[in-house]
């Protein structure tokens, strides 16, 4: 190689940049149009969630009673009054502002629930898979119990039990619900990580790492978890729509975000009684839920294909 370079001194030497797992996955993800659309949807949601309150034409809780009265005591329909581009609800609160606030709540759900899932699921799965034996059996029976327990019942029980504590009141009661949702959904990730470690710990590079004196903790964290990260990312991405949906369901049941704050679920709950008269009050938050679920699912599916080493070079 060196001699070749010398023989043709002016030839441009193509320096091959290293192509890691991530670059490779990104290349494949980029080709997946649906995943890119989903990614844009996710980015848009993130943007709305972070900057929503700044963009909103009104604070989400302010009532414009005059406008409602002027409209004959009926909520303003969308696109009629440019002061309320998407109309108002019956109390004269700006719907666009409330939808943006709801986006923030949904984004928080996505984050907090998945953080809880990662914090419980990954270590538990890693310990069960790596140590194996009796500990593995015990831990997996615990996950089985969590898996078998009815989710909604658990969340309702938790929110009733902790409602009056400081933890229950934190973030307007939202944190409690999110943690409760997280506590019911870490099982999938724990099982996933355990399964990955069970097969990965038999690989020869683990033996090679032990042969140079790497301790158990570093083998798990530096050698094994990076190999298992792909499926975990996919599971987390696909877990987000489930969590958003769970929050909407709970909000519809009256658990979770307390008024005057809004989530897409509470907005549907507010509007559902007048669905025949003012359908937009339900349609708009419903559409947003559907669109964000689709975005996350498309992105998750795309990531699954992109991070699957067996698909390398295909597509």
């Amino acid at each position: 190689m060196a001699t070749q370079t010398k023989a043709i001194p002016n030839a441009p030497v193509a320096v091959r940049r290293s192509e890691g797992v991530w670059r490779d996955a990104w290349k494949r993800l980029r080709k997946n149009r649906l995943a890119i659309v989903g990614g844009f949807g996710v980015l848009l949601l993130a943007f709305a969630g972070i900057f929503g309150p700044m963009l909103a034409p009104h604070p989400y809780q302010v009532q414009d009673i005059a406008a409602v009265v002027a409209n004959g005591n009926e909520p303003l329909p969308p696109f009629q009054d440019m002061n309320h581009p998407l109309g108002t609800d019956q109390l004269g609160r700006d719907l666009m502002s409330r939808l943006l606030d709801g986006a923030q709540v949904s984004l928080t759900v996505a984050m907090v629930v998945q953080l809880v899932v990662l914090f419980i699921g990954v270590p538990l799965g890693a310990i069960a898979g790596w140590v194996g034996g009796r500990l593995d059996t015990y831990l997996m029976r615990v996950t089985d119990i969590f898996y078998a327990f009815p989710d909604l019942l658990f969340i309702i029980l938790m929110s009733v039990a902790f409602r009056e504590t400081a933890f229950g009141r934190a973030l307007n009661g939202v944190l409690l619900v999110f943690v409760a949702i997280g506590l019911t959904s870490w099982v999938t990730v724990a099982r996933l990580v355990r399964g990955q470690l069970l097969s990965l710990k038999e690989t020869e590079f683990v033996e090679a790492a032990r042969a140079i004196g790497v301790n158990d903790r570093n083998i798990v964290t530096k050698h094994l978890l990076p190999n298992a990260i792909g499926p975990v990312i996919v599971a987390v991405t696909l877990g987000i729509p489930t969590a958003i949906l769970a929050e909407a369901t709970l909000a519809y049941l009256g658990i979770g975000v307390q008024p005057p704050r809004a989530s897409w679920g509470t907005l549907i709950n507010d509007g559902v009684n007048q669905i025949r008269v003012y359908p937009w009050l339900v349609l708009m938050p419903g559409t947003l839920i559907a669109l964000s679920l689709m975005s996350f699912t498309f992105l998750g599916d795309g990531l699954r294909d992109a991070l699957d080493p067996k698909l390398k070079g295909k597509q």
Binding site: S18, E19, F205, A208, R210, A211, I212, G213, K222, N227
Partner: protein, 357 residues
Amino acid sequence: MEEAVSLDLTPEEAARITREQGDRAGTKSKNLLTVRNLSTHFYTPDGVVTAVDDVNFELGHGETLGLVGESGCGKSVTALSLTRLVPDPPGKIVSGSVIFDGVDLLKLSEDGMRKLRGKEIGFIFQDPLTSLNPTLTIGFQIAEAIRQHMGLSKKASYNRVVELLSKVGIPKAKDRLGDYPHQFSGGMRQRVMIAIALSCDPKLILADEPTTALDVTIQAQILELISVLSDEFGTAVLLITHDLGIAAGMCDRVNVMYGGRIVETGNTDVIFDNPRMPYAWGLLDSLPRLDDLRSDRLRTIEGLPPLLINVPDACRFNPRCSFTRDVCREKEPELTARAEPGHFARCWATEPGGWIA
């Protein structure tokens, strides 16, 4: 394994104790590695497999020792036992001692053992494709042992990694540190494995079939590299191979293993000129030769190595041996001296007074 190593000794303490014991027994620690009565068993549902059975050998400083035999003869398990990497369960080192540089490795604490692995004893594995972690860069994987054992600064360990990579013959070493294993060819990856094994200037390298996964031309380069670098660093090598050609070219001495036991040991030229064990003849006879025009079929040793469960007190090779007599089936021969110094064989037929002259 835990019971056997429950003594929490630091390597220094263990070294002192073992040295005192050695002095009392009158043995000098001129050897880098002394293996005595090493037995490793695997506890399987079918019974206890005596994978390594009462193995004894020595390895001097800077010496290259071959461990040859068919698949399933206990070569790899022997190497794993030396560094206590036998998977437990089902495997267990049941007895023996491994005196390395004055320390009995089997009595060290797990922590003390970990400090030795990679630092004093390097390991080269059979398959460089699977022995490197696909998600970590080459640079990280070579630096790992250095960080683990040498306590060098970031800059110093980076320089050492670059130096090692160029030493094992990887061009543009600096540019390739950030590369991942899949960007290297098989031979290159084995060079990386050698760099990892050499990274902390070990006294001993265990090379477990280092060229089996490589094609013949690359094989020669890798063996040459191991040979040159072990000379340069003064490293002793335990070379495990089933290829007698490799053993002949690389080793000072050769141990022939069969059925978990060493059946013949001696200097390489003695083993190849005048093997005193029918199994060794069989192995030598199975080597294809360019000048052999008599037959176009490869010669083999009939049958398979024995299952090592409930091994009877008999020569383990007797069912496949064409010189078997009753005594071979009734009692297992000892490893006894032959004419040349340092040449031992485990065979009734070639013992003095045996039926093969």
